[in-house]
Amino acid sequence: MEKALIALAAALAVGLPAIATAYAQARIGSVGAGTIAEKPETGGIIIILEALPETMVILGFVVAVMLILQFA
């Protein structure tokens, strides 16, 4: 039972930030596509902005790994 709860916590630690990231990237992506269509020179900045929300999932993943290594 304890292991199941740890697994659930780890899953939530990755899953919830992933949903938030997807939402943020969808918005940034559409705006970025519009911006690049008009001003191609902004491509580099848009890619950086698009990648920024990924940090949420990476942090979630680290938390999940820590949970599993510490308690499982």
């Binding site: 969808a26 559409s30 519009g34």
Partner: protein
């Protein structure tokens, strides 16, 4: 349900607005107008050749031997229509519907032009400058323009399967029966507004509420126009009541009926700001000033919400206002008016 929510996500606004915002820097600013007002017509033409109007300009230079003034008019109209049609094509889902509502002012302009033409019975061999960014094609209006009589126009309108054309057909019917021009225009306007209301009913969002407010303000301006005719003594109060349109944003028909001075009419409404500029009771100037405020209100939406219809509202207003301002400027320069007089005629906002 979830899929429907996904379809209505604001991503379309994000894409559309990003593209539109990139073009805001293309619009002329106050200093440009002031510089142009000092120039001759040929110099204005050379200036416009270097801007986004240049493409239409070159086309009219090659295709038709026209006067400088007419060439400028054509280039402005073509470029404005192209810009607005391009903006509409970029929208999908809710923004597309709302832009259809925002751009319906072209159909209103074209329809009213046609009604006035047949009402006055004037004979004009040329073509008017149609606004080519509405729902109904320009060719439809051009065909109606060439018709033999108002009843012929009415038949063509009723045969064309669109609520706008049917409303125009009914308005033409009124002209044929001998009704006044405002009464006929009211029928056309009411028909168009009913259809636009149906489009807005599909979307219950804060963006559709903004467009509804814009339509409400347009109705306010129509009602103010009728009211100012009563105040100026050219229309009776009883006839005016029949011409007012319900559903204005802030001016109820009761208020319109019972007000005799601009102050009574506009106090405690969003139009109150124009009262400060009145010196005495120049009731007939209400509509012109309200129109200026309306333009400024639309352009002021630009920074309200970067993920809403506000950006498109401001973009459309900017484009139409630039077209109107350049036309006024060209006419002023052509007539040899003073620079300050020309600048005074322009609506400089944003």
């Amino acid at each position: 349900m979830f899929l429907k929510d996904l379809k209505d996500l604001p991503e379309n606004y994000g894409y559309l607005n990003a593209r539109l915002r990139a073009h805001f820097s293309d619009f002329l600013v106050k200093e440009d107008y002031r510089r142009l007002a000092f120039r001759r017509l040929e110099e204005i033409e050379i200036f416009l050749l270097e801007t986004r109007y240049g493409k239409s300009f070159r086309k009219s230079l090659v295709e038709q031997p026209l006067s400088t003034h007419r060439r400028i008019e054509l280039a402005l109209a073509d470029t404005s229509a192209d810009t607005l049609n391009h903006a509409r094509r970029m929208a999908m889902g809710e923004p597309e519907d709302l832009m259809t509502v925002l751009l319906a002012r072209a159909d209103l302009h074209n329809g009213r032009l046609l009604l006035r033409y047949y009402f006055t019975g004037a004979i004009y061999e040329g073509h008017p400058q149609w606004h080519g960014y509405g729902t109904l094609p320009v060719t439809f209006f051009a065909d109606l323009w060439k018709s033999h009589s108002i009843t012929h126009v009415m038949d063509k309108c009723l045969a064309f399967d669109h609520p706008f054309s049917r409303a125009l057909g009914r308005a033409c019917g009124q002209v044929a029966k001998g009704s006044s021009l405002p009464a006929s225009e009211r029928i056309f306007l009411s028909g168009v507004l009913t259809y636009l209301g149906e489009i807005l009913d599909r979307h219950r969002t804060k963006d559709s509420a903004l467009v509804r407010e814009l339509l409400g303000r347009s109705i306010d301006i129509w009602n103010m126009n009728i009211w100012s005719r009563v105040a100026a003594g050219v229309l009776s109060g009883e006839k005016a009541v029949e011409l007012f349109i319900e559903g204005g944003y802030s001016l109820s028909t009761d208020r319109l009926r019972n007000s005799s001075q601009p102050k009574d009419l506009l106090a405690s409404t969003p139009w109150e700001t124009i009262l400060g500029r009145f010196q005495g009771g120049l009731a007939e100037m209400v509509t012109g000033r309200a129109m200026r405020e309306f333009w400024k209100w639309q352009i002021g939406q630009r920074r309200k919400d970067p993920l809403g219809i506000e950006v498109a509202t401001a973009f459309i207003a900017h484009q139409l206002l630039e077209w109107q301002n350049l036309n006024a400027l060209v006419v002023g320069v052509d007539m040899g008016l003073e620079v300050d007089t020309i600048i005074d005629k322009l609506v400089l906002a944003g």
